[in-house]
C-alpha cells in the first residue's frame, strides 16, 4: 500500500493517510472504484454503507462483485473483495440505509471525510445536511454514461448540495394516461399502473374498469374480478383490451373533437392467440399476435409469483423478465389500439425502468478524481478542490476532465446551509392539510426525516410519537395557519432548520400544483401568469372536466430505493459552472418507481365553498364511472411541481434537445451511431431529457465561460 512505502507520499501526508477515518456512502459503480483506490493508497480506517444487494446488471462495472455474489449485500461483499488485495485495512461495512436514525451525528462525527457515491437525491441531501451539521468535509459525486462529476462540500466554504435547486420528476395528467395516450411513455405508465392494479400492493392507480360477475350483480374491482377468474390470461386480455376500450368508447363525448380515438382490435384475437416470441431479440419490434401471446404468458407466470409471495402482492421490478414482458406487451397492445408507435422491449425497459446508462471507465475516472480530491481535503487545501467534470467528448481545448475555476461560495439564500434562508410556501390554506404538509412538503420535497413543526410557538407536528397532536386531518385554516403565518421546521436528526412563510394562494387554473415553494414572496405572483393551452384540449372529459388527475413517476420509498433506484436523474446547472452538473450514479435507475397517481380537484375553488364543490362533484360522477374510486382521494391533493405546460414542451422538444446534445459536444463529430442506438434519449425519457435540457442551458454559458477561463490561465 502506498502509505507503507517511504517516499511515495510527502512525509506530512503519510500518517494522515494511515489514520484518517473515512466514510464511503454507497458501494455501487463509483463506490467500488473509490474503495479500491482508498485501500490501495493505504487508508487504514474505512467504513462503507450501502442498502443495496448485487444485481447482474451491476457486473459490467462494479468489479468487486461477481456472478456468485448476485443477491448479496454490496457493502459486505465489497469489503471482503478489497480485503483480498489488502488484508491490513480496518473496514467496517454496514448493510443499511444512511438515512436511518441510527446513523446520527455521533456516527458522522467519527469521520475526517465523507464520500458520497450515491444514486439518489434524497440520500444525497440527507448526507449533505449531516455533514454540514457536523462540519465534516464531504465529496459528492455522480456519473451518467460517459460523463460525471466530483464536487467538494464544506460548511461556510463551498456551495452545499442544496444551494442549487434540483429539478423534481415530471408529471403526466391521469386523463391522458387513462383516456388519451399520445406517446409510448403514456402507455408504459398505464401498463405499470395496470400491473399494480392487478398484482401490486397499492391499488390507487386504477386504469382498468370495474366488472360485474355473471352470477352476481355485484360490481368487482378489476383486481377482485381477476382473482375471481383465477387470473385467466385470455379473460384478462379480453377485459382489458376489448371491454375496457368499449367502455371508453361508450363514454359520452370522451373522444368528441379529439384527434385521438382508440380503434378496437380485430375480433380474431378475442380469445387470445399463440405466436412464438421467445427467440426474438430484445431490440426487435414484434407483431401484435406475439405481444398478445406475451401478455397472456406473462399473466400466467406472474400469477405463480403472486401465489408464492408471502406479502400477497408484488412490487414491479424492471429486472424481472415476466414483469417486464407484461409491461412491454401491455404497452404495445395499447399502442396499437391508440395508433401510437410500437417500441422494442429494449427501449420500453429503458423508459419503464428509468435506466441511466453506465460504463466502467467513467466510474473509474470519477473514482480516481474523488480520491485525489480526498487527499487535497485532508491536506487542508480546500481552495484546490474545485468541482471537476468528466465530459463524454473533448471540448474545443481537447479537455475531457475539466475543473471549475474556483470553489463556488455558498449561496446566501440557501435554506440548508445559510441561516438567513427562508422559504415561501404558497398553498390554498383552505384545502391544504397538515398531513399533506408533512408528507409532500417536508418529507418528499425537503427530505426531512424527523420533523418538529412550530407555528408561532405552537407545536403542530412532532417527531416524538408520544406527542399526540393529531392535527393531520385538519386543513391549514382549520389549524389556524393563515396567510402570513411563520412556520418553523426543525429536524433534530439532520440538525436542519428552515423557516417558512405561508402565502395563501387560490387556484386560478386547473393545472396549478397543490403547493409551491419560492425563495421570496415576489416570485409567488410571477407564477400566476401562465397559460394552459395543452390541457384545455387534453382533459375536458365530458361531464367530468372538473376532475383532473395527475400522475407522477415518483421516487421510490426508502427500501425500494435500494435497488439502484434514482429519482434523482437530473443535472443542475449553475451559472458559474462550466459543465453540466451530474448527480447521477451510472446505472442508476428509477426502477422501483412505484409510479403513483394522485388526484387533484382542480376546479376553481372559491374560498367559501370548497367542500361543497367536492361533494357536488362526487354526486355528479356517474355511479359506474371509472373515476368513482377516486372520490375519496379527491381531497388527497398532490403537488405538481413544474407547470403542466412545461411537461409538454419537454415531450415535444425531445427532438430539439437531441440536436442540442450534438451542439454541446462541440466541433467533434462522432456519436451518430451511439445516439442511434441510445434511443431512450429520443423517447421522452424524463431523465435524459432533463439532462439535455440542462445541457442546452449550459451551452449558453459555456462560451462565455471559455473566454473567461482562458484569460485566467
Amino acid at each position: 500500500m502506498a502509505a507503507n512505502i517511504v517516499g511515495a507520499f510527502k512525509p506530512s501526508m503519510q500518517n494522515v493517510v494511515k489514520t484518517s477515518k473515512i466514510l464511503l456512502v454507497g458501494a455501487g459503480g463509483i463506490g467500488c472504484e473509490v474503495l479500491k483506490n482508498l485501500v490501495l493508497m493505504g487508508f487504514g480506517e474505512l467504513e462503507v454503507i450501502d442498502l443495496d444487494t448485487i444485481e447482474i446488471s451491476n457486473l459490467n462495472r462494479q468489479f468487486l462483485f461477481s456472478k456468485d455474489s448476485v443477491g448479496k449485500p454490496k457493502s459486505h461483499t465489497a469489503k471482503e473483495s478489497v480485503l483480498r488485495f489488502n488484508p491490513n485495512v480496518n473496514i467496517n461495512s454496514h448493510y443499511g440505509d444512511i438515512m436511518d436514525t441510527k446513523y446520527g451525528s455521533a456516527f458522522f462525527n467519527k469521520f475526517k471525510l465523507v464520500i458520497n457515491a450515491l444514486d439518489n437525491k434524497r440520500a444525497r441531501s440527507h448526507v449533505n445536511r449531516m455533514c454540514l451539521s457536523c462540519d465534516i468535509p464531504l465529496i459528492e459525486s455522480g456519473t451518467m454514461g460517459y460523463s460525471g462529476q466530483v464536487e467538494f462540500i464544506k460548511k461556510d466554504f463551498s456551495l452545499c448540495y442544496e444551494c442549487s435547486p434540483k429539478p423534481v420528476p415530471k408529471d403526466y395528467p391521469m386523463c391522458t394516461i387513462r383516456n388519451t395516450p399520445k406517446e409510448p411513455i403514456h402507455c408504459i405508465i398505464w401498463a405499470k399502473f395496470l400491473f399494480s392494479q392487478l398484482f401490486g400492493e397499492n391499488t390507487e392507480e386504477l386504469v382498468s374498469m370495474e366488472e360485474t360477475e355473471d352470477e352476481t350483480e355485484e360490481k368487482l374491482s378489476a383486481r377482485d374480478w381477476a382473482k375471481a377468474n383465477n387470473y385467466d390470461g385470455q379473460k384478462l386480455f379480453k377485459k382489458i383490451f376489448y371491454d375496457d376500450i368499449d367502455y371508453l368508447l361508450n363514454m359520452r363525448d370522451l373522444y368528441k373533437s379529439k384527434s385521438i380515438k382508440p380503434r378496437k382490435l380485430d375480433y380474431v384475437y378475442l380469445n387470445g392467440v399463440k405466436s412464438e416470441y421467445a427467440h426474438e431479440e430484445e431490440s426487435k419490434i414484434l407483431t401484435l399476435p406475439q405481444y398478445i401471446s406475451m401478455f397472456i404468458d406473462s399473466i400466467t407466470s406472474i400469477k405463480e409469483k403472486l401465489d408464492q409471495s408471502k406479502k400477497g402482492y408484488l412490487n414491479w421490478d424492471k429486472d424481472d423478465d415476466d414483469f417486464m414482458n407484461f409491461v412491454v406487451a401491455s404497452t404495445n397492445i395499447r399502442s396499437v389500439i391508440f395508433g401510437i408507435e410500437i417500441k422494442s422491449h429494449f427501449n420500453i425497459k429503458s423508459m419503464a425502468g428509468n435506466i441511466i446508462p453506465a460504463i466502467p471507465t467513467a466510474n473509474a475516472i470519477i473514482g480516481g478524481q474523488i480520491v485525489i480530491h480526498g487527499l487535497r481535503v485532508l491536506e487542508g487545501k480546500y481552495p484546490r478542490c474545485q468541482t471537476v467534470y468528466l465530459r463524454g467528448m473533448p471540448n474545443h481545448k481537447g479537455e475531457i476532465i475539466v475543473k471549475d475555476k474556483i470553489v463556488q461560495k455558498p449561496s446566501p439564500t440557501c435554506t440548508t446551509c445559510s441561516t438567513e434562508g427562508h422559504i415561501v410556501l404558497a398553498v390554498n390554506t383552505f384545502t391544504f392539510t397538515i398531513r399533506q404538509f408533512e408528507d409532500l412538503v417536508l418529507r418528499q420535497r425537503l427530505n426531512i426525516v424527523a420533523p418538529d413543526v412550530l407555528i408561532d410557538g405552537r407545536m403542530i407536528i412532532s417527531s416524538d410519537e408520544d406527542d399526540e397532536l393529531d392535527l393531520y386531518s385538519k386543513t391549514f385554516s382549520e389549524a389556524n395557519i393563515l396567510h402570513g403565518s411563520k412556520i418553523s421546521v426543525d429536524d433534530f436528526l439532520q440538525n436542519y432548520r428552515v423557516q417558512m412563510l405561508v402565502h395563501h394562494k387560490m387556484k386560478v387554473s386547473d393545472e396549478q400544483p397543490e403547493f409551491e415553494l419560492f425563495n421570496n414572496s415576489d416570485d409567488v405572483d410571477k407564477e400566476d401568469d401562465f397559460e394552459q393551452e395543452e390541457y384545455d384540449d387534453e382533459c375536458h372529459i365530458d361531464g367530468e372536466d372538473h376532475k383532473f388527475i395527475y400522475v407522477k413517476q415518483e421516487e421510490s420509498s426508502n427500501e425500494e430505493m435500494a435497488n439502484e433506484s434514482d429519482e434523482d436523474n437530473f443535472s443542475s446547472v449553475e451559472e458559474e459552472l462550466e459543465e453540466t452538473e451530474l448527480f447521477v450514479d451510472a446505472g442508476a435507475v428509477n426502477d422501483a418507481s412505484e409510479t403513483c397517481i394522485k388526484i387533484t380537484n382542480v376546479c376553481s375553488i372559491t374560498e367559501d365553498n370548497t367542500l361543497s364543490i367536492i361533494e357536488e362533484q362526487s354526486a355528479e360522477v356517474p355511479a359506474d364511472s371509472q373515476d368513482e374510486n377516486n372520490e375519496d382521494d379527491a381531497k388527497d391533493n398532490f403537488e405538481i411541481e413544474d407547470d403542466a405546460k412545461d411537461n409538454f414542451e419537454i415531450e415535444d422538444g425531445a427532438k430539439d434537445n437531441f440536436e442540442i446534445e450534438d451542439d454541446a459536444k462541440g466541433d467533434f463529430e462522432i456519436e451518430d451511431d451511439a445516439k442511434g442506438d441510445f434511443e431512450i434519449e429520443d423517447d421522452g425519457n424524463e431523465t435524459n431529457l432533463e439532462l439535455k435540457r440542462k445541457a442546452e442551458d449550459n451551452v449558453d454559458t459555456t462560451e462565455t465561460k471559455k473566454s473567461r477561463s482562458s484569460t485566467d490561465e
Binding site: G7, R61, I355, E399
Partner: protein, 301 residues
Amino acid sequence: MDSEITNNGGDVGKLSKDELKVYDRQIRLWGHDGQKKLSSWNVLLIGMQGLGAEIAKNLILSGVHSITLKDDTNISILDRCSQFLIPPDSEERNRAKASLANAQKLNPNVTVTADIKSIEEEEEDFVSKFDVVIATECFPAIYRKINENCRKHKVNLYIADVFGFFGYFVQDVTFEHNLYHEIFPNYDQRSNVSENRPLPYYLTSALLRFQCESNRKPVPDNCEKDIAELKSIISSFEHITNIETYDEYLGELFCEMSPTTSIIGAAVAQAAMNTIMDRTIDNFNVFFYDHVEHRGQYFKL
C-alpha cells in the same frame, strides 16, 4: 473479423442472453452494434503493473473478445500501490501470471491469457495478431520500436504510463500523426524540446529522459536525488523559465498511484473502445492527466 462469441456458444454475431444482461447498462450507451464490435476484438496489453491492471479491468468488464496480458517481469513491492489483480500472498512471481486468475474472474465471457515473453524478443509481425496493442511500463526505445511495428502493420496502438499521480498516453490509430519518438524527440539526447508546449509535455519529456539516463523510473526510496535529477533535466530545456511551478509535481511522481492509474487506465481503455466502435477522437494523439490542475486534456503533438 466476425463477431462470434466463443465462450457462450451463441450464434455468430449475436450476444448471449447472459451477456445482454451483464452488458445491459453499457449497451444502452453504445448500442448492440457497439457491443458486438467490442466482443470481436483482440487486445494485446503489455505491462501488468498498476496501470496495466486498470486497463485490463476496464476492457475485460466491457467485454472485448480476448486480451493477452504480456509481462516478463516479476512482482515488486511497489505494485501494491495500485496492482489490485495480484493477491498479496501470490506464489506466482511473474506479473502477468499472477494477475491472470483475478483478471479472468472479472468476466468469464472474455478470453484472458498470460504471456511472459518479453516484447523485445517477439518477431516484428507479432503485433499483427491483434486489433489493438496497449503498451505500458516499457522504456522509450521499446515504445519507439513497438510504434514503428504497429504503424507498419496498421495495428491500433496506445502507449500509456503513470508516474505517481501524473500520467499520459499516446494514441496512434489513424497512422498519420507523429510517431512516439517524434512526439518526444529528446528522450535519448539532451536536445531541445519544442516551444509553447503545455507543462505536462515538458514533465513527460523529462521523465522519459530520466528513464533513459538512469535505466529506471524515479523511485520513492531515492526520491530526493531523483527529484534533483529531474529538476536539472527540466532546467536544461531551453524554453523553461518557471522551474518552481514544477516543484509540486516533482514531489508526487513516485510509484503508480491508484487514483491516477484509475484515471489513465480508464481514459486509455475508453479511447481504445472508442476506436473499436468507430468513434475515435482522431484529431488528437496525446493525452495528459495533470493531477495538480485536475485536468485531462488531449493534444495534437
